[in-house]
Amino acid sequence: MNEAVRRKDMLPLLSAGLLVLLATAGCAPFERASPPAAGVEADAPKKPLAEAQGAPTPAPEVKPAAPEPAAPPAAPPPADTPATRTVEPAAPATPPGAEKPAAKAPAEPAPKKQTAAAPAQPPLDLNALEKRLKDTDAIGVFTKLTLKNQVDDLLAQFEAHHGGANRTSLAALRQPYDLLIIKVLSLLQDRDARLANDLVQSREAIWSILSDPAKFQRLVNENRS
C-alpha cells in the first residue's frame, strides 16, 4: 500500500525528469547544428581574406573538398570569384581520396580552369564600392565623414607624389593606405561582412590605380567632373 502511494508521489517527479531530459536532448543537436550554419557566413569573408594575404592554407579544406565535386553546380557563389577560388585547394584534396578514379576525372579539369582564372584581378567598380560604403549601416555618419576626410588626405598625398611636389616614395604611401583599409575593414567586418570582403578583394586593384600616375589622374578627373 505504501509502495503504491510512493509510486504515485514519484510519478510527477519522474515525468518532470523525463521532460528535462527530453528538453536537453532536444537542445543538443541545435547547438551543434547552428555553428556550421553561422560558419558559412562567417567563413565567407575569412576565406578571401586568407587568399588576399596569400596564405597557403589548403590543408583544412581537404576533407570537405572531397564531396564537393558534385556540389559545384549547386553552389550559387560561382558568381563571386572568391568562392570559385576557395575551391582551388580542392584539387590537391581529391588525390588523397583516391577512391574512385571516375570522381577524379571531373575534379581535375575544373581546377585548371580556376587556376587560370585566379591570377585575374576581381572586377573593380570603384563607384559601386564608394556607394556601398556611403549606404552601409555598419558605419555611423560621423565615422563615415571622418573616414572620408582621411581618404581625401591620402588622395592629396598621392596627388602631391605624382605631381612631384611630395618626395615621399610609393612604398611610404603604402603604409597609410594599408592602415586606412584596415580601419575601414575593422568597422565593417562585423556588421557588413560582404562589403568588407569585397573591399579586401579590391585592395590591390585600388592600390594599382593609386600608384599608377595615369590611372590616378583619370580617377581624379572623373571625380572632379
Partner: protein, 82 residues
C-alpha cells in the same frame, strides 16, 4: 476589460519607443566612439553624448576624457579636448 487592454497597448507602445530611443543612443555613442578612435584620441568608449547643435556633440568617455565632436566649416570632423 477595455481599460486593461488599453493599458497593455500603452505599455507596449512605451516599451517600443524607449527601446528605439535606447538603440539610437547606443548607435550614436558607437559612432562617436569610432570617430574619436579614428582621430587617434584616447577615449575607450563614449558613455554620454550631449547634443549641442546639429553635428555637434559634447562627449564623455569611459576614461573620463571629454571632447566636443563636431563638423567644422570645411566639412572635417573635429574632436576638441575639453
Amino acid at each position: 476589460m477595455m481599460k486593461s487592454m488599453m493599458r497593455w497597448v500603452l505599455m507596449a507602445v512605451a516599451t517600443a519607443l524607449s527601446a528605439g530611443t535606447a538603440s539610437a543612443a547606443e548607435s550614436l555613442s558607437k559612432d562617436l566612439t569610432s570617430t574619436i578612435a579614428l582621430l587617434g584620441l584616447p577615449c575607450g568608449q563614449v558613455v554620454t553624448a550631449q547634443r549641442v547643435a546639429e553635428d555637434d556633440y559634447l562627449v564623455t568617455c569611459k576614461d573620463k576624457n571629454r571632447y566636443r565632436v563636431y563638423v567644422n566649416a570645411k566639412g572635417r570632423v573635429v574632436a576638441e579636448k575639453r
